[in-house]
């Protein structure tokens, strides 16, 4: 193979690596923010908040590298798709980082007072979402389409959990109005987690495009004809 193309291949691999590094970094941010919330650890929460700067810097850095490769190398086919994928995925990963920060801030806000109920469901949601993210990153490593399908299934589960949590909290705040501040914050956290799950699905869809060259909206929830389980409205 031509030496210039060998060098280019090296650059593409490097790009891939850096994306994975950013992904792992943000994965750790998410995990820490959830732990900070459940253990009410303010220091851990602050760590997460300051880590966001690093994540943002990685985002910018990788984007610049992509633009450079586009301008100088005229990539085609697989190579072009890789670079396009990387550029979109870093945006999703960066948002996940931002949501982790939001969760960390909530942890700080709620620290010092006991929770009105143990955070079983939210923690469980956090775990599942954490796994989704990890699996999406693994799909990126291995160009593995099976994992993509798995992530999409999990998203359904997360959506269901979100809706049931919403119902549960609606009931609780009606019975015990003094729990409203905490309940609202925790509801927001659940919402953040649900958003993280969506971004994870985006990442999975991008991996599918990178591998097959066809762009699909694969997750049912991303399609316009999707209906909620208890949706009574007609369109």
């Amino acid at each position: 193979m031509l030496r210039s193309r060998q060098a280019f291949d090296g650059q593409l691999m490097q790009l891939h690596q850096r994306l994975l590094q950013m992904g792992s970094f943000v994965e750790a941010m998410l995990e820490k923010s959830m732990r900070a919330l459940s253990e009410q650890d303010v220091n851990l929460a602050r760590e997460v908040i300051s880590a966001d700067d690093v994540a943002d810097a990685m985002d910018l850095d990788i984007e610049r590298h992509c633009m450079e490769l586009l301008a100088l190398q005229q990539p085609m086919s697989k190579d072009l798709r890789l670079i396009g994928t990387v550029m979109k995925v870093i945006a999703d990963v960066e948002r996940i980082g931002d949501y982790s920060v939001d969760i960390a801030r909530t942890a700080i806000k709620l620290a010092g007072r006991e929770y009105f109920k143990p955070l079983v469901d939210i923690s469980r949601m956090g775990e599942i979402v954490g796994v989704m993210l990890r699996r999406a990153l693994q799909a990126l490593v291995g160009n593995d389409l099976e994992i993509v399908a798995e992530v999409i299934e999990r998203d359904d589960e997360v959506d269901k959990m979100w809706y049931s949590l919403l119902d549960e909290i609606e009931v609780i705040i009606q019975e015990r109005p003094e729990t409203v501040p905490q309940a609202v914050s925790l509801l927001l956290v659940a919402r953040y987690l649900e958003r993280v799950a969506d971004h994870t699905v985006n990442i999975a869809e991008r991996v599918a495009y990178m591998v097959t060259g066809h762009f699909e909206t694969l997750a049912p929830s991303h399609r316009s004809d999707y209906r909620l389980p208890d949706d009574n409205t007609t369109d």
């Binding site: 193979m1 031509l2 210039s4 193309r5 280019f8 005229q74 990539p75 085609m76 086919s77 697989k78 190579d79 072009l80 798709r81 389409l145 599918a208 097959t212 060259g213 066809h214 699909e216 694969l218």
Partner: protein
């Protein structure tokens, strides 16, 4: 890439022209076509079983590494291979459904309908006017007014009129390379062809002149069917609607240009467009 029915993303709902066929057949009018075309230079087989359909009023690009047969194929479309000793073809080449290699075919008429522009500009050592008028005069036009009209029309079509209208009597050899190539294009247009064959028309030109010729091609596309051989695949991606990839005398893949450059079906095409061949 095999089609796997269990994967949801294998069900493509977009209505693209024949997807999933390595050698596609463009929809719409087909002007020229080759079927099972073999070509030999003596004992050497330059083309193997080439099947390709050239769509009308579009630009079709032929790419591939040097020596892959794309120029030989182009020359078989207007029987210019006949001028080289020892060449032989088997198979079918059709223009509007008629076999151009059939007995009794008038090659002169064929070359009027299927014109060619060459790699290095080759204006005749005569005036610009006489260069353009050469074709029509060959075919019997002597009326001065008609010739004047034809010369002007052709030079305008080739986007050269404004630059040379005051020096029509000057030698064609004195103008720049890019202008000479446009002159050669005008010269071909003067005989009113239907198909334009271009064999690496920009390879001896600088980038600015190249872009002007590409502009010109896009303008001419509305009236003419254009087939261009180029060793610069970026040029192919810029101007063509359909692209064919040749290698070692075989047409390995042929389809919409977007497919060839974004997501080719054949791995050899993929390696080539990504620059992975040395």
């Amino acid at each position: 890439m095999s089609e796997d029915a269990t994967r949801p993303w294998a069900q493509d709902e977009r209505d693209e022209a024949p997807k999933g066929e390595v050698i596609a057949r463009p929809p719409g009018e087909i002007r020229m076509e080759a079927r099972e075309l073999d070509m030999y230079y003596g004992d050497f087989q330059a083309l193997q079983k080439v099947d390709i359909a050239i769509p009308g009023q579009q630009i079709t690009a032929l790419i591939g590494p040097s020596g892959c047969g794309k120029s030989s194929f182009l020359r078989s479309l207007n029987r210019m291979n006949d001028t080289i000793e020892g060449t032989r073809i088997e198979g079918l080449v059709q223009l509007d459904g008629e076999d151009i290699y059939a007995k009794g075919v008038d090659v002169v008429e064929l070359r009027k309908r299927v014109g060619m522009v060459f790699q290095t500009p080759n204006p005749f050592p005569m005036s610009i006017y006489d260069n353009i008028a050469y074709g029509p005069r060959l075919h019997g036009v002597t009326d001065r007014e008609r010739l004047d009209e034809t010369v002007e029309r052709s030079l305008r079509q080739a986007a050269l009129w404004d630059e040379v209208k005051d020096k029509l009597r000057q030698s064609a050899v004195g103008i720049s390379g890019g202008q000479q190539q446009r002159l050669c294009i005008a010269r071909v247009l003067a005989v009113e062809p239907e198909v334009l064959l271009m064999d690496e028309p920009c390879s001896s030109l600088d980038p600015t002149a190249t872009f002007r010729i590409e502009e010109l091609m896009l303008e001419l596309m509305d009236e003419y069917t254009i087939v261009i051989v180029t060793h610069n695949m970026y040029q192919a991606s810029r101007v063509s609607q359909y692209t064919g990839f040749f290698m070692l005398g075989e047409l390995l893949e042929y389809g919409p240009t977007t497919r060839i450059f974004e997501n080719p079906l054949d791995s050899r095409t993929d390696d080539y467009v990504r620059g992975r061949f040395g």
